[in-house]
């Protein structure tokens, strides 16, 4: 390396000098080499460190959400309170309060009672109601029932609240702490697998909130996306790769597809809002519109993957088909497309995985509403998993943080499964021509 600052090299006079110059610089250059290499390794290391940090923080925050604290109540299904003719609207919260009162008979005074009743979730009353409705003969008997605890009790039992803080900084006061401890001593509090998280819809109460509604909403939305984007994407890829003449219109289409692949997703949301909802008058918050918007978003991905896959089918296949008298359409549909299908499917799965994780455009079309019911069709108001995560992440309760992380884990599990399927498909059917 001859740098501008180095002394001019006179090779003829003194043949040993240039190698000396090189040798003198070697240590420095090797050090630079090592440094550079280290920077490269560090960069890879940093990215992987971020990845593991992300996973550790989410799993660390969320794994406890798969368990839920339950309290055992001795419930006397009091015939005075339960009118057999109208079991639907009876005073079940009263039953819960009665049972709690019986467990701690020495609690008097309004404030104390209110604190005591706050230990169990409002879901306890629903549980009793279901019991009574399912088997009316229970009335007049005493049963021990495990009911979900309130989210604050749940957080305390799971160790997310610091007991040693002063009372006014805690969401659980000293009296409640004592009751919980006595319940724990008697084995009347325990953690069980949190089935509600997988079977119920959203709720304002963290202990009752589940992801079922959002997961079903995601399913309907993705179903629409797949049904539309796969056939349209394949058709567009086939046309552009096999039939399109080289002209301005084709160029325009290509530029548009490449550009749409890089347009921010929120812009698609604006499009959905202005066109589908305002112009066509589709209802808000429904999977149908969400699916339409996501279709427009995933189309470029599928078209680009499909074209690459079609391009990799060798011309000999096409020529052989044409040679034995197939029309061009027959050649494509009978020979080229089946051979390109694994690649197209891989691209489609990757596009679907993107669509599953997409949030911003769905906020625009109103899929961000608080919806308790589990959607039953393409035109029922619903939300989707990532939007549910967004909504819960906004909630102040500590218990929702845990649930958000758990919902993220579920979402990531779906995504990893989809991507793994894409990789498997590629490995299994990939052909080198």
């Amino acid at each position: 390396m001859n740098r501008p600052g180095d002394a001019p090299i006179n090779v003829e006079k003194n043949p040993a000098r240039s190698i000396e110059i090189v040798n003198r610089g070697l240590a420095r250059r090797y050090a630079a080499e090592k440094r550079f290499r280290f920077y490269g390794a560090a960069a890879v290391g940093i990215s992987l460190l971020f990845l593991s940090l992300l996973f550790i923080s989410i799993i660390g925050k969320g794994y406890t959400a798969f368990q839920q604290t339950f309290i055992e109540l001795e419930v006397y299904f009091d015939p005075d309170m339960l009118d057999e003719t109208d079991l639907n609207t009876a005073n079940y919260p009263g039953l819960v309060r009665q049972s709690l009162q019986k467990m701690f008979p020495d609690v008097t005074g309004r404030d104390d009672r209110r604190d005591l009743y706050a230990l169990v979730s409002t879901g306890a009353a629903f549980k009793l109601r279901r019991l009574a409705l399912d088997s009316p003969e229970i009335i007049g008997q005493t049963r021990s029932v495990w009911v979900p605890a309130d989210d604050d009790v749940d957080m305390l039992v799971k160790g997310h609240y610091d007991r040693n803080r002063s009372e006014d900084e805690r969401r659980i006061n000293d009296r409640q702490l004592a009751w919980i401890d006595s319940l724990e001593e008697n084995g009347k509090i325990k953690k069980r697998f949190n089935t509600a998280f997988f079977t119920s819809g959203d709720s304002r109460e963290p202990e009752l909130a589940g992801i079922r509604g959002a997961a079903v909403g995601s399913f309907y939305t993705l179903a629409i996306t797949l049904l539309l984007s796969f056939p349209i994407g394949v058709a567009a890829a086939v046309y552009l790769e096999e039939f399109a003449p080289k002209n301005r219109w084709t160029d325009l289409i290509e530029v548009n597809i490449n550009n749409l692949a890089a347009v921010p997703s929120i812009v698609f949301g604006l499009l959905g809002l202005a066109v589908f909802i305002n112009f066509f008058g589709f209802p808000r918050s429904v999977p149908l519109v969400g699916g339409l918007v996501l279709t427009l978003m995933t189309l470029p991905t599928i078209i680009i993957a499909g074209r690459a896959s079609l391009k990799s089918v060798p011309p000999s296949i096409r020529e052989a088909a044409l040679g034995i008298g197939a029309s061009k359409m027959q050649m494509v549909y009978h020979h080229v497309l089946p051979l390109a299908m694994p690649g197209i499917l891989t691209g489609t799965i990757i596009g679907m995985a993107q669509a599953l994780g997409e949030t911003a455009p769905l906020l625009m079309i109103g899929m961000v509403a608080f919806i308790v019911d589990i959607p039953g069709g393409f035109t029922d108001p619903s939300t989707v998993l990532p939007v549910q995560i967004f909504l819960w992440a906004d909630s102040p309760e500590r218990a929702f943080t845990e649930r958000t992380s758990a919902a993220i884990m579920v979402l990531l599990a779906f995504l990893i499964f989809m991507n793994a399927a894409a990789v498997m498909l590629r490995k299994k059917f990939e052909r080198r021509w």
């Binding site: 058709a235 039939f243 749409l260 812009v267 112009f279 625009m364 990532p386």
Partner: protein
């Protein structure tokens, strides 16, 4: 008949048409033995019949569905009592909404008066008439198409050519959707933005220093005019993107160099998919990570150093956005670096350069246009990223250069302005579309330059 049932019945009818057409082609030549007398294979006759039956019926269904609601609403409005019909448009819309709620059995906002009940009944009646007539029209059309095509099937009918022509038209239509999407984006955003610029001057929007889009609902309320100077919003966007790029470019570029030039194939095989996981994680997850893990860490460590760090600092959002973009930069640069021909490296090695010297003085300069292109694409990604900033950056539009303070971005403002109830004639809502227009134009500009640079560069070495 409900539209979805009708849709399914048309599909069933099309399947039946296929069977009928196929059978017919057999019978016109007199059995399977004489099939060679047919111009096309029997499936094509079936397909022709199915297409002829299905496509017109489905088109009619689509058009009918698109306009049904508007037409019925018009009719209902015309049928309302005089005193309601003459109400201002916003009030009228509310009443029509109530009528629709009444029809779908939802809870209405106030007591049902007889006029509204009548309107709702009228609506239901019109809807059922419309559905019934739509079903009749579609099905009759389909059946007629089957009968006609069945008639014209002869051995000479060039069914394959007809089917292929129709298929090709469908293919062209499908590939044109990309153009219509772009057109749709441009028109919808532009249209609303122009309405916004009628209320707020373009220059005020682009150069104003005050952003507080709070509009009063009633004209006589205090603070009824918001300020729509978007400079603080643009500045915030640029700052967060700049922070993201200072994280993503060095890390992404160096890991691309390491993976393509130094790493053994084993390391490469392990590290690349792991980095791609980083790219596949939904942005809402990054947003959660930024808001609940990174932001508190930055705030607390800033507090230890005696700095006043906002809990929604630009730094937290920017750093996490940078992490998200790392794999994007690295995989794009990896492609460009790999495209540099090996002879250039061999030449440098032959002159005695070390590896790092080769990379710095030969490979990178050769790959520079491509790398610049990929960085531009990454910038466009950062500008348009939404969820991370919605969750981790703030709403307050501060014009500041301090990354520890709260700033807001274009995407955050679009989301806050458009989520929830909206009025489509208020500048507050329309401002979101103006911001969207700026966002679309900016990213379009970056993308076109970047794609052009990348493509031109690739061709150079191919």
């Amino acid at each position: 008949m409900a539209p979805s049932t009708l849709f399914l019945s048309i599909l069933v009818l099309a399947v039946a048409a296929y069977v009928i057409g196929r059978k017919r082609s057999y019978s016109v030549v007199g059995g399977a033995r004489k099939l060679r007398e047919l111009h096309s294979r029997p499936t094509y006759y079936g397909m022709l019949t199915a297409l002829g039956c299905g496509i017109p019926a489905l088109l009619i269904l689509g058009i009918w569905q698109a306009f049904e609601e508007t037409v019925i609403t018009r009719l209902i409005t015309a049928g309302l009592p005089e005193n309601i019909r003459t109400l201002p448009e916003s009030r009228l819309n509310l009443i029509i909404n109530d009528v629709k709620n009444l029809v779908s059995g939802n809870i209405v906002s106030k007591e049902v008066d007889p006029a509204m009940q009548a309107a709702a009944d009228h609506y239901t009646r019109l809807q059922s008439i419309s559905h019934a007539s739509m079903a009749v029209v579609c099905l009759v059309l389909g059946i007629m198409a089957i009968a006609i095509i069945r008639k014209i099937i002869t051995p000479k009918l060039r069914a394959r050519n007809a089917v292929e022509t129709v298929t090709k038209i469908i293919l062209v239509a499908c590939s044109s959707i990309a153009i219509f999407t772009t057109l749709g984006i441009v028109l919808s955003v532009l249209f609303e933005a122009i309405r916004f610029f009628k209320a707020v001057a373009v220059t005020e929007f682009l150069f104003g220093l005050q952003w507080s889009p709070q509009m009063a609902i009633r004209a006589d309320q205090v603070g009824s005019s918001g300020a729509f100077g978007a400079v603080p919003v643009f500045a915030g966007t640029l700052m967060i993107s700049a922070i993201a790029m200072t994280v993503a470019v060095p890390v992404g570029l160096m890991s691309a160099i390491y993976l393509s030039e130094y790493a053994t194939s084993k390391v490469r095989a392990a590290a690349k998919p792991l980095m791609e996981i980083l790219a596949g994680i939904p942005t809402v997850v990054y947003g959660f990570f930024a808001a609940l893990t990174v932001a508190p860490v930055i705030r607390d460590s800033g507090g230890l150093m005696g700095l006043d760090v906002s809990s929604e600092s630009a730094l937290a959002a920017g750093v996490v956005m940078g992490i998200m973009i790392i794999p994007f930069v690295s995989s794009l640069s990896d492609d460009v670096i790999n495209a540099v021909p090996q002879v250039l490296r061999d030449g440098a090695y032959g002159l005695g350069a070390t590896r790092s010297e080769t990379i710095r003085n030969v490979v990178i300069p050769a790959a520079l246009p491509g790398i610049v292109g990929s960085i531009l694409l990454a910038v466009s990604r950062a500008i348009g990223e939404t969820m991370i900033v919605v969750m981790a950056a703030g709403l307050a539009a501060n014009l500041t250069a301090n990354p520890l303070q709260t700033v807001t971005t274009v995407t955050v403002q679009i989301v806050t302005l458009l989520v929830g109830d909206q009025e489509f004639d208020s500048p507050k809502t329309l401002a979101a579309f103006a911001l969207g227009l700026v966002l679309f134009v900016a990213t379009l500009f970056l993308n076109i330059i970047a794609l052009h640079v990348v493509r031109k560069y690739r061709e150079q070495y191919e």
